[in-house]
Amino acid sequence: MFKLFKSYWFRLKRFPFFWVAIGLVALVAIASVSIVTTVSYYAYTYAQSIGEVYNASLSLTYLSYQFLIPSSLVPILVLLIIAIFFLRDVQHGVYRNQLLSGFSRTQVYLGTILFSYFIFLTIFAAFLIPFYVVGACMPRNLLPVSILDGKTSSLSYLVILITDLTLPVILDSIIMMTQNRGASIGIFFGIYFLVSMFGLITTFSSVYGYYQLAEFFTNYQISKASSIVPNFDTAIKIELVDGVYQSSSVTGRTIPLILKTVFTKVFYMAAFGVVGGVVYNRRSLR
């Protein structure tokens, strides 16, 4: 497997979009942390100078947003890199080089997924490192301290990390199953669309507490991350009363976010990973 990785890395190093993506996320991280910290600092200083208590711009909610919103660029770029990098291999039939070099199909399949994780972690690191380093250098070291000390945020980052790791597995498994560029992209976005629709339907038609699918979406993660009580959800409850559907808004405690997320994401990863592996092992290749 190490040999496979060496070869992938050799090629990735020569893939210009990879370096463009790294530069872009680093730039976005530096820009966002610089702007937010500077604005927050001056707002805080101004509030103090006029004798007012002004905490809005320094709240965990506000600062978490400043991390989460730009960081959502990472999975988009990772998916683009994976799509271009591996779909090109499929299109040119170069996967057969790996099979003819003594790797089993299972090894090639797992290698693709693990290397996708490597791409994700590299791009994520390219965002995270400048974000914290530059943040630490800014006035009063506001942003890193706020985020690291936050009670909700560290959990939220884990949730996002798991979510972001799920998407490459889904895309990889579709690529390896279909062995076709158009079909892979179509099916991936088709599934994403269906999950979105299903998420919306289940959100609006269930009693509170069943938001598993909604967790795929950044808006939901942000709302959870920034919530003071993250295990509370609001949903529309629809009931059939005397032959008429009636809806009402209900609020209640949900299953802890981390548990729901880990279960849902691990389930998706395992389901797509296993199905993709089985199909890839059995199918004829280009």
Partner: protein, 308 residues
């Protein structure tokens, strides 16, 4: 002899939906052989090579590589083989040199990357000048891609090469160079080669045995020597008495036609024919020998069907 088979197939069958791409194919390739796989488009040549290289799974039947039939061992067995199917599987966005390096890395040949191995491989296929070039493979001509594909196929000194139409897109000089390369590999390193080609006159210059395939069936497997014996040559003769010559040769069992010129098919020994005519006091006014080719043999096998 049984043990020196590099490839054997036993009733290998591949069905796509309801059509059979391969139908109970059983062939054997001996160590050190160059087997030419001959057939028209869609005959099943590529499917056979794809199955043997593990890219396509057979519907039924079995095959062995290096004497091992266990499908679980196929990945490790393929380490000793190389393959080029239809078109070389190249990384278009990389240079030729980088393609070879990537292949070396997959095969765990890191040391070779740093030595002169890559330059050597490029020289081997006549692309040595591209060693320092950054030109990407997507900008190569078809012939250059074919050569690079062959260079990639030789990495790691494989004991078996399976090549599907390796001379596609090459000019006559390129075809000759590739042929010389393959003959060298076969003679000097004992590499067994399974090669499919449409260019039958070219194939006949270096293949040591042939398998003729049509509609998924192996029509015939034959060695170079057996083929030479079977194809023989045709003779065209004009004598002072063609009618007499015709009846004489017919009575001796030759396949003869008389159309102003006596035409004798599949003659093993021309001297014997001339001797018959001389001893019967026939004067030969015109004599011409025509060697039968692999193409003629193949056409006869197909019953005169063209489109090879």
């Amino acid at each position: 002899m049984e043990n020196d088979y590099i490839i054997t197939t036993d009733n290998l069958t591949k069905a796509y939906n309801k059509s059979l791409a391969l139908d109970r194919v059983s062939i054997g390739i001996h160590k050190g052989e160059i087997l030419g796989l001959v057939g028209k488009n869609g005959a099943g040549k590529t499917t056979l090579i794809r199955i043997l290289s593990g890219i396509v799974k057979p519907t039924s039947g079995t095959f062995s590589l290096f004497g091992d039939k266990d499908p679980k061992h196929l990945p490790s067995l393929l380490k000793n083989a190389s393959c080029m199917i239809e078109h070389p599987a190249l990384y278009d966005e990389l240079s030729g040199k980088d393609n070879l390096i990537a292949t070396c890395l997959i095969k765990g040949m890191d040391k070779e990357v740093k030595s002169g191995y890559i330059q050597d491989r490029l020289n081997f296929v006549g692309l040595g000048a591209l060693y320092n070039s950054t030109k990407k493979v997507k900008d190569y001509s078809l012939g250059m891609k074919q050569r690079l594909g062959i260079a990639m196929a030789t990495i790691g000194d494989p004991k078996l090469m399976m090549l599907d139409e390796p001379t596609n897109g090459l000019d006559p000089q390129g075809i000759k160079e590739i042929r010389d390369l393959l003959v060298n590999l076969n003679k000097e390193k004992g590499v067994t080669i399974l090669i499919s080609s449409h260019i039958l006159p070219e194939l006949s210059k270096f293949a040591t045995s042939y398998a003729f395939i049509d509609k998924g069936h192996i029509l015939k497997s034959i060695s170079e020597f057996e083929l030479e014996k079977e194809v023989g040559k045709d003779l065209m003769i004009q004598t002072n008495d063609n009618a007499k010559a015709f009846s004489l040769l017919s009575s001796k069992g030759y396949s003869v036609t008389n159309d102003g010129v006596i035409y004798i098919k599949k003659v093993d020994d021309s001297a014997a024919v001339l001797n018959i005519l001389n001893t019967n006091q026939l004067t030969i006014n015109f004599f011409k020998e025509k060697d039968n080719t692999l193409e003629d043999y193949y056409m006869n096998l197909l019953g005169g069907n063209k489109n090879v």
